[in-house]
Subunit: 444 residues, 2 copies
Amino acid sequence: MSAHLGDWRGRYRGAAICVVRPATTAEVSAVVRACAQAGVAMLPQGGNTSLCGAATPGPEGDTVLISLSRLRRLRAIDPENNTMTVEAGCVLQTLQEAAAQAGRLFPLSLAAEGSCQIGGNLSTNAGGVQVLRYGNTRDLTLGLEVVLPSGEIWDGLRALRKDNTGYDLKHLFIGAEGTLGIITAAVLKLFPLPRARATAWLAIASPALAVRLLGDLQARFGALLTACELVSDVALGLVCKHFPTAQAGFSASPWYLLVELSGGDDDSSRRQAFEAFLAEALESGTISDAVVAQSGEQAQRLWALREHIGEAQKIEGLSIKHDVSVPISRIPEFVERAGRELAQAFPDIRIVAFGHLGDGNLHYNQSQAAVGENAVFIAAQAAVNRIVYELVHELGGSISAEHGIGQLKREELLRYKSAVEMEMMRAIKRTLDPQGLMNPGKVL
Amino acid sequence: MSAHLGDWRGRYRGAAICVVRPATTAEVSAVVRACAQAGVAMLPQGGNTSLCGAATPGPEGDTVLISLSRLRRLRAIDPENNTMTVEAGCVLQTLQEAAAQAGRLFPLSLAAEGSCQIGGNLSTNAGGVQVLRYGNTRDLTLGLEVVLPSGEIWDGLRALRKDNTGYDLKHLFIGAEGTLGIITAAVLKLFPLPRARATAWLAIASPALAVRLLGDLQARFGALLTACELVSDVALGLVCKHFPTAQAGFSASPWYLLVELSGGDDDSSRRQAFEAFLAEALESGTISDAVVAQSGEQAQRLWALREHIGEAQKIEGLSIKHDVSVPISRIPEFVERAGRELAQAFPDIRIVAFGHLGDGNLHYNQSQAAVGENAVFIAAQAAVNRIVYELVHELGGSISAEHGIGQLKREELLRYKSAVEMEMMRAIKRTLDPQGLMNPGKVL
């Protein structure tokens, strides 16, 4: 059972009565019904890639761990309706591939896609690198099948783009991290496969200029803009240090943007328009350098610079991590004030900032450059969190943009959610899971 | 009070203790608190344009009608974040105009936009003519402010594109038709203002060909495709009959499609690509005629043919109306089988079919051509409904795609929703509105 009992980041380790591996929705239902009747707690688990300990049991050892990994059928794919019906245990990447084989795009894309399962993506409302254009997992979902805490099966597998027949219950289960029931299948939206792509790495002086450029890109290219990722020089420096083959070769700049357009099939005129746009931005001084990928391979190399940031940080050593969002218009203020306040409190701090500018979502991580002093710094996590989260809260932001709450941020949730909202959440939990058996100790 | 007590279609008329017209969220809260303490039922009302009697009181006269029309402040607009914060009583069209003045698009667009209010759009999750590209009202909403049945105010006015901090409660209130609380304000998404538009009216032999053409359009133009409306020859004939200035001038065809591309600013190359696409479709026989608007004025005239269908039906006389959806891939089967089964049961039936092909949503209405016999036919509504709804259900569709349930489809809901789903809905209603005071007799 060992692989199921610890989390991916190595922060949590728990115990369980057993690991059950049902292969069908009916089997999940039978397991849940037996647990409900016996009053035994349950923990659903997918690819076990949560960054918040959402899929790791507590230490009590009184929980039945239900792995969904054998529910991995692609039940149906309907290209004319642009939908596919999939089971919870399907690995995200296999779904991307199945969609592509049918000539369609399933746009959910994130670092763990080779091992995370769609049931976990749904339960955490996963985000990723194409939210700007296609939305979060929630926005990609038309229907759900859920085993309720009683063991009853709710068949909400509708493949409809419009359905106004009462309360939209699927949204309760999406993002609930398994605390209200177990998602066993879903109907997901598909999109036309983009036939053309233009990718560029831009050097830009400040987040304020980056926000302005984002607005210009949206005004000019609309829905063709599918990614706008912000990367600080410190983040890029770590990648270049630990992945020597990942050479940047850009002129030095405090900030960078990775921009991608995709869609349609009119490659040459799109590329021309994009290059003309960048030439204007260079001339007006909005950006100071631009590299436009001349091939798919070069585009991949640019993306690798962005995607290796997480791994580079891990090699560098421990750090304090935040996954926050604020309104896009407040990103510059957030970066400026958080940087200043943290530097005042921790003079030798090193801030690694990067993320999804188009979604107002920053991964905002801290360590100290001197390895010897980092352990002391990490111990000050509570104080660091307070500075970051107070500012996020003041700016109308979220302390968990795309990773969820799990067990990591349960206490912070209590601090920043209103009493009215916490009580509504608790009331819904009591209503759907009156015995409190579904993934206890998470979220609430 | 009279204007508040009847519905727009003239089907329902009720009574109320009084009409209260609060001007602020605090005043709504005070009214609701007083009603909750006195155990008096409440009915929130916006522009009173419901097509299902959702905003009309019952005959008992024991309800306080709360009009939201004085909550009409545009609280904030943030073009950099592409959001605006608006109060429930704002008329939809004024919000479209406010967005446009800020250089942004608020894409919700529907027939009643000159009088419907955004609080009602939210409470019914309104659809309209741009759902294909921009989604339903639900998809356009980032945050809500709600006065709960207790009178407490839930401030969920977040302007974030990513926020995974617990259950996403806003989705419970959107589409709940005021049965769980009163929406007083919302944060809505804005989009870049499309700078170019190409509109065409196409003659096409069958819904099956129309579905295929839709797929081709999506593959070729992706997110630029913002409307794909299906119109039957009978529907167009009624428009031409009752609006003599609305001349079609197309070659006769059993079906038509109104197609619109919009976005970006590269007008000439877009139009070229669109015209080349249509030329190919003509050559391959997918379509038999195409008129591409050569000016904004001509585009408006094409849209008028589509938008006058509702009014033309009204002038023609009473009809039985359905607002249904099925997976887009099942639209041809639905049209074929429903037409055949209805004609078998009612030999002289006249079917007016039109709607949002790109959303799988048809407005599917029936009358008899001979005015004298129509009253008898209308009296057979239950039998007509049964044929239509049984087929919709068999094809995995919805009996209310975009109009909601209100009082009109409450009994049908019981027939077609599973017991598990009805009980979940009732449990949530009991949890959030334990006294059952919010818009009683609607939805549940």
